[in-house]
Symmetry: C2
Subunit: 330 residues, 2 copies
């Protein structure tokens, strides 16, 4: 059996769950599992969850050799040493993940930021295949981004490049979770859509009847998912909230297009999966706003890997690093 047929494992590690997948060289997920993580159990508790997920959900059922593991972590990492510098949701700080995990599972481990992993996945196996310059925006509870420039994932000085959710749209706008005002995230992330919906039904209860009913009568329960469902059902207020979200995304995409001049902007994440119309709306608004030269070669497209982008990307990242190290994986 050659390296061509061997697998790598990709892990998406967040504050509430760990998900791992056995991935082949083309990015196909052949198995894996998903478990809750409990940061309250401390750094070693999460490591134990991760090891159990790898051993029981992946390695035990792998029908082909496994070459290594890529772990995408929701936090700031040092990819050279594989140390997690800061991961607030995991309560990890300067945690030597690569060293500890390699000792536990006896396979080479590569650590990367989770959004950069998802970007790498979309680039190598998803909607970005073949592009040398692309930007991914993952719109979920928050908004994360990743950038490929001239065929490389850009990292920046401290490894945190791509925080595109915190691109300002309105410097006097609503407070963002980051402390700044008027970030893209403060208009278009899941939490911001929910807040805008709650504000809208408070202002216009008549117009908001459908939304409130869908939220079980309590406007506090209004979420981006409820807005998406109501918009699909034709509710005018939900439709307006969606259009405003698309407009805000388009303003952000225009700044991004001007700054990075990508060939593709790829929109993914739970909010986009729930309201795929946002892709077209964002593109139309960006085309009204960005420079002609930046638009000439730009496509705005929906992500191709859905919720698997993170695991596939981490697995492909491990495969690339193994190949670079001359292990014969490729």
């Amino acid at each position: 059996m050659t390296g061509d047929e061997a697998l790598t494992i990709g892990v998406d590690l967040g504050g509430t769950k760990v998900e791992a997948g056995l991935v082949d060289r083309r990015g196909k997920v052949l198995g894996g599992g998903r478990r809750p993580t409990g940061p309250e159990r401390g750094p070693d508790g999460i490591l134990a969850d991760l090891v159990a997920c790898l051993a029981e959900d992946c390695l035990a059922s792998a029908e082909r050799p496994v070459l290594g593991v890529g772990v995408g972590v929701a936090g700031q990492v040092d990819p050279e040493t594989g140390t997690v510098l800061r991961a607030p949701n995991l309560e990890w700080s300067d945690f030597p993940l690569k060293a500890q995990l390699e000792e536990a599972i006896d396979l080479p481990v590569f650590v990367i930021n989770d959004v950069q992993a998802a970007t790498y996945g979309e680039w190598t196996c998803g909607a970005g295949r073949g592009a040398q310059d692309l930007v991914c925006l993952f719109v979920g509870t928050g908004i994360g981004g990743g950038v490929v420039s001239h065929g490389s994932l850009i990292r920046g000085c401290g490894g945190t490049a791509g925080e595109l959710g915190h691109t300002t749209l309105d410097w006097h706008g609503p407070k963002c979770t980051c402390g700044n005002r008027g970030c893209l995230e403060a208009f278009a992330a899941g939490w911001a859509i929910a807040r805008r919906a709650q504000d809208a039904v408070a202002e216009e209860p008549d117009e908001g009847r459908t939304l409130i009913a869908l939220a079980g009568g309590a406007s506090d329960n209004l979420t981006a998912e409820v807005v998406a469902q109501a918009a699909r059902d034709g509710d005018p207020l939900a439709g307006r909230l969606m259009r405003e979200t698309g407009e805000a995304l388009g303003v952000g995409v225009a700044s991004i297009a001007n700054a990075f001049n990508p060939c593709k902007v790829i929109l993914g994440g739970g909010v986009i999966e729930g309201m795929p119309e946002l892709v077209g709306m964002a593109e139309a608004e960006a085309r009204r706003r960005a420079l002609e030269a930046a638009l000439r070669s730009l496509e705005v497209v929906r992500a191709g890997l859905g919720r698997h982008a993170g695991t596939v990307g981490a697995a492909m990242w491990a495969r690339r690093n193994l190949a670079t190290a001359g292990s014969g994986a490729e």
Copy 2:
């Protein structure tokens, strides 16, 4: 005489003037000249101006061998072929600059965008020396930008990456020259400072007396230079206009820091030279707004090469390309 002592020529070619400098391997300017250009004379007229500037102002007086020429052009270029794709201020479109200039002067020619040339200059010989990740913002009549990521100048899909003057600060804000609303340029470029000053004196003529007097009695003559001079003289309205400009720059720098995570943001150009206090003001505002992780390794500094950034950068760009081509220049 070895390649170490040889020179390259750097050219900064814009719609109103061509400037060329004889530059040594350390980026020191040893001579050169500056001439007006007249786009009204057509593409060949500008080429003739450029050739005359190179021949008479540089080559005739060069006391050491000249290895080649780098030309920074205010427009969109294809650096592989050396063709100027679009340069509206020069009225050039698909103009084969490298081919024509090489024929005229019998030296190797390398063509690059003018702002990218200036960024390359600041990176190799100015305030950015040694940084692997930096962003330059040149604030003059307009605002241009350039980005170095992981030790490479980023270009993007069509060569126009770094249009950071058209980063949105307020999506419902004032009209920008690009057609969008609320761009950084529409608050902080020379033309925007002039417009804000004109609006301010129209609204509050009493407060504006000093500014109007400095502009020779006509508020239409108010420029960013006049505002800078009045601010230096302690005029309160000019001081407020400067602080607002610094604040706007800081909002832009915050988005840029989050997106690119540079080690350095370098501020240069005529507006910064006229009001160097803007650097500290922009940094303070950016530190209030950007993500902590993006700020951890960030310095905001003033450009080091002043008005020579473009010529030095183009000359160093030529030197690098000659070295890459194995000419023994380095």
